[in-house]
Subunit: 215 residues, 3 copies
């Protein structure tokens, strides 16, 4: 049996790398759905998209828990437990932030999301793609160190771009939005999107610290 | 003397279980006072309730610190130090969230809190009762495992109910509230109440993880 | 060579005390600039002050990282690693909060900040001075224990003063502010200032716990 004492004491194929790939794939699916949702403006469509994103968020939780369980029963891992933990938690956190923003869009049911919001969801999706790519390269961290570092740098640049978009948006919002309910709605939704890119940048920081440590 | 070196090295009656009971009793008192306060609408009454809740919050802090002190000087505890710590901190956090919301009610002095707010305070009080009950059963965690688990499940259900109430409330708020100051006030106060139930659900998660670990 | 194995194994002059002094000096510079900025009301001035504060914030990050690096390579430190870490992180956090508030002032470009805001920035600056003073006394924690404790108590009193100012401000704001955009702007900016004093109070708590532990 795979889970016998003997199995536990001998190095085994770590299962958490495939699980981490599953988790980052889930992030990409969530980000893709968010980007698609942003150009659908009826209350009903928004509710449906939120429900689908919510399901992906639960799926992400499941992968995150499985990674933790796997770590608890694996004696020899290619990385420190805390690093895998932090990486898994940070990816899960990006999914949570996307889910939280989709929930706001559903609950607040704002005016159609404008160009700045569309741009932010594109950046989130692009960030998710870089995360999927970098995580898939962890299996051979030595050979892929350079590419992983490049992805981390890109994640940071994308976060900076999102920051600029968000800042310009907020400056305009306070000058031009004359409906107070819409002002509050837009501000919180855009903030949610911006914080998702912060989360993706943080995933990059965790990945970068692993590259520094293990090569 | 009880605190002599000898006393320290031999198993002693752990004092933190009674302290945890005191802390959860304080939570229930706080939640009860919050529920009572919610139907008093004058600025003066709100200030008085806030002051009384603030005192309970300080009392909770004292119990929480005593638990930490007790852990630092007790060699043999029936549970891991971190678990007692997390449990104590999580209960204290619910008290803090209630206190923060009572403070908002006092400072913002909004229109009378509506039906949804009353319902949320009822859920918070009910959650506090389940926490008191589950904590009192820790002394015999083996014999009470099933009941503690049931309480945790109920805490989770109560949090879900609170979520639904909060979501419907926010949807209506943005459609119907025409006074911007009242919209902001209501939104933040209801959010505070909803986050108190999140905190209570988290206490349930800590309790559940202890049951899984020690039986 | 200083970083030879031999150097690592023998006690060396800890470098993190000077670095901690640098970090708290940076905090004081940031707080001084914030206080100065608060009476400049054009969009352009606000942007310039924010940029200068942002630079100081990056400088603080650099000191904070250097302290962490120094801790990782120093075998014998006069304090526990976690304590230096917590202290450094807590000072850095106050800088971050000031930076975040300066950013809001720049982005929101509100009406001139009123008297309550000016008072809060004075309290933040005063708090920074007490932190600089207390940190400079860590070198001789035994001889300076009493003075450090007094600074910590003052930090707590300053935070209480800030709390009172903020509370009165918010109460008035909801009664008197008739422009919804200005209400939101003021509330968030004043909240940011108040949270900076919370952060300074937390630095005091970390310092106090070190005094209790090491003397």
């Amino acid at each position: 049996m795979k889970n016998s004492l003997f199995g536990k004491l001998t190095p085994k194929e770590p299962k958490f790398l495939p699980l981490l790939n599953n988790l980052s794939d889930t992030l990409l699916e969530t980000a893709t759905l968010l980007e698609e949702s942003i150009s659908h403006h009826t209350a009903q469509e928004r509710e449906e998209y939120y429900k689908r994103i919510k399901e992906l968020e639960r799926q992400g939780d499941t992968f995150n828990h499985s990674i933790n369980d796997e770590l608890a029963t694996t004696f020899i891992t290619p990385f420190d437990r805390e690093d895998i933990n932090r990486l898994s938690a940070s990816i899960d956190d990006v999914i949570d932030r996307i889910n939280g923003t989709a929930k706001r869009i559903y609950l607040y049911n704002p005016q159609p999301i404008g160009a700045a919001g569309v741009e932010l969801t594109k950046i989130i999706k692009e960030s998710a793609q870089y995360i999927v790519d970098a995580v898939s390269k962890l299996e051979n961290i030595h050979g892929n160190a350079k590419e992983i570092r490049t992805s981390c740098r890109t994640l940071h640049n994308l976060e900076n771009q999102a920051d600029d978009i968000y800042e310009k948006f907020v400056q305009n919002l306070f000058v031009n939005e004359t409906d107070f309910a819409e002002l509050i709605k837009s501000k919180e939704i855009m903030q949610g999107l911006e914080k998702a890119t912060d989360g993706a940048d943080f995933v990059g920081k965790v990945l970068k610290s692993m590259v520094v440590k293990y090569i």
